[in-house]
Symmetry: C2
């Protein structure tokens, strides 16, 4: 696997043709795209091209507007961290609202439908190059239990996002029972290692994983851009999530329910207990 930056895309503006900008950046001989390549595109430039930079005097209000469900909040000196499920179904801090890399008085929202953005970009790139390419749109998130942030895939087209190894066997012939590799997130992370956060490199090419691009084509026929799934297949529904709420929030929810039940139970049994001296 070879991962390299596609340099020279420059500043992206609302309405820009991202596929054209990417292909222009890929004109240099060292960066020429090849069959089976996966493009990892930082969501920021997709958002900018789609005009998602909006006026917002108050970033906190913008976060509230993008929030579908509050997962956890924590007050710290100087502000509050809000981890929420946003309109895209992603659980992330600040709903993915970005106030860096934007002029004062504006914020940058995530693409409305990152999988649709990836499909449009992948379709355009495939049509113009004749190459079997995959596209991932990436963003940066924190994780429970572990320090630091990693990049994940929030949009995908033309590339498998999960590599389902269930039913296959390990090296000694034993069944691997629960392994479904989130390859799209691992690819996004690999791309982050070469893009960095501060270098102004929003594009990376991941070469050597054509099997993941092929697999989708074989499964889906000649129109992988319409493949079911995309990165939304990586979203675990809150109903099946063992961590749908922050611990403090869940304790509070349980406490309120328990308190009400305790009051009710005591009132039902209380006078009897009182009279019989069992209280």
């Amino acid at each position: 696997m070879h991962v390299f930056v596609l340099a020279g895309i420059g500043e992206v503006r609302a309405g820009d043709d991202l596929a054209a900008l990417i292909l222009a950046a890929a004109e240099s001989p060292v960066a020429r795209l090849a069959d089976g390549d996966i493009l990892a595109v930082t969501s920021k430039i997709v958002s900018k091209a789609e005009g998602r930079q909006v006026a917002a005097t108050d970033r906190e209000q913008a976060i509230t507007d993008e929030t579908v469900r509050v997962v956890a909040t924590r007050v710290y000196p100087g502000g509050v961290t809000r981890i929420v499920e946003n309109r895209q179904g992603l659980v992330m801090a600040a709903a993915g609202v970005d106030a860096s890399n934007t002029p004062d008085g504006t914020v940058l929202l995530l693409p409305v439908d990152p999988d649709a953005s990836a499909r449009a970009l992948c379709t355009a790139l495939r049509a113009r190059t004749g190459l079997r390419l995959g596209v991932l749109i990436t963003d940066t998130v924190g994780r429970p239990w572990r320090e630091g942030q990693t990049d994940i895939a929030i949009g995908a087209a033309g590339v498998a996002v999960l590599d389902d190894l269930r039913g296959t066997t390990d090296a000694s012939g034993r069944q691997l029972d629960v392994t479904v590799a989130a390859v799209a997130d691992e690819i996004a992370g690999a791309a982050d290692l070469v893009k960095g956060k501060t270098s102004g490199n929003p594009l990376a090419v991941v070469r050597g994983l054509g099997r993941l691009v092929e697999a989708l084509q074989l499964q889906q026929g000649p129109a992988p851009q319409d493949a079911a799934g995309g990165a939304s297949a990586l979203l675990r529904p809150s109903e099946t999530d063992m961590f749908r709420l922050g611990t403090a929030e869940a304790v509070a929810e349980g406490y309120a329910a328990g308190y009400a039940a305790g009051i009710a139970a005591a009132r039902a049994a209380g006078p009897v207990a009182e009279r019989s001296g069992r209280g």
Copy 2:
């Protein structure tokens, strides 16, 4: 960044000299190690070399024995999923106890101290090659909120695990306030993409990230194997973790406390409320 498998290590047995096996595998001209390379080593072979394959008729008991703190449990048809903090401080399903890739009646436990294992391996590899190398020991974990599993670094030596970008500025000169990239986890994920789970390839070389190996040397002086940190720096303490308990467990904890408080409150106020008709 170039990531490739180091093939041919074969089956690892208790007491094997892992550094020697790795260097033998790196003898081929295509796989020759270079300055700044990072070796990603699947924990399984480290465990095997360290004799962590133990007799266990009951995998569930082995999981219990490795558990320091239960985070969440979920019963499903045919079993129970236990997400716990294990002796290594890692929050993971089944405490990292592995019953695949081992003979019947045995399980494979994680290395006792993965950072120490990485330091020993890194020190041996550096001494025998004269090269500035980094070592990551990797394992596979699930994540809240997202489907699928990714590889993470559970042990590290000679390589920075967190790339702290706080205080640096973005492309437009604005301060980046909260970005600390968990590069060791991203490297582990990149290595997983080439190693796969079933191919019997427990070793990958990640080339092109010498800046992360250098950074540690510059910070730590001539003995990076003694650097503070290692992969344990990626462990978020439960005290500062917003997700130290599963939602169901936290609700139950809150409910029990609330119920007791409700009973107490009703008993304290109840007779008065009863008499005054406010109940």
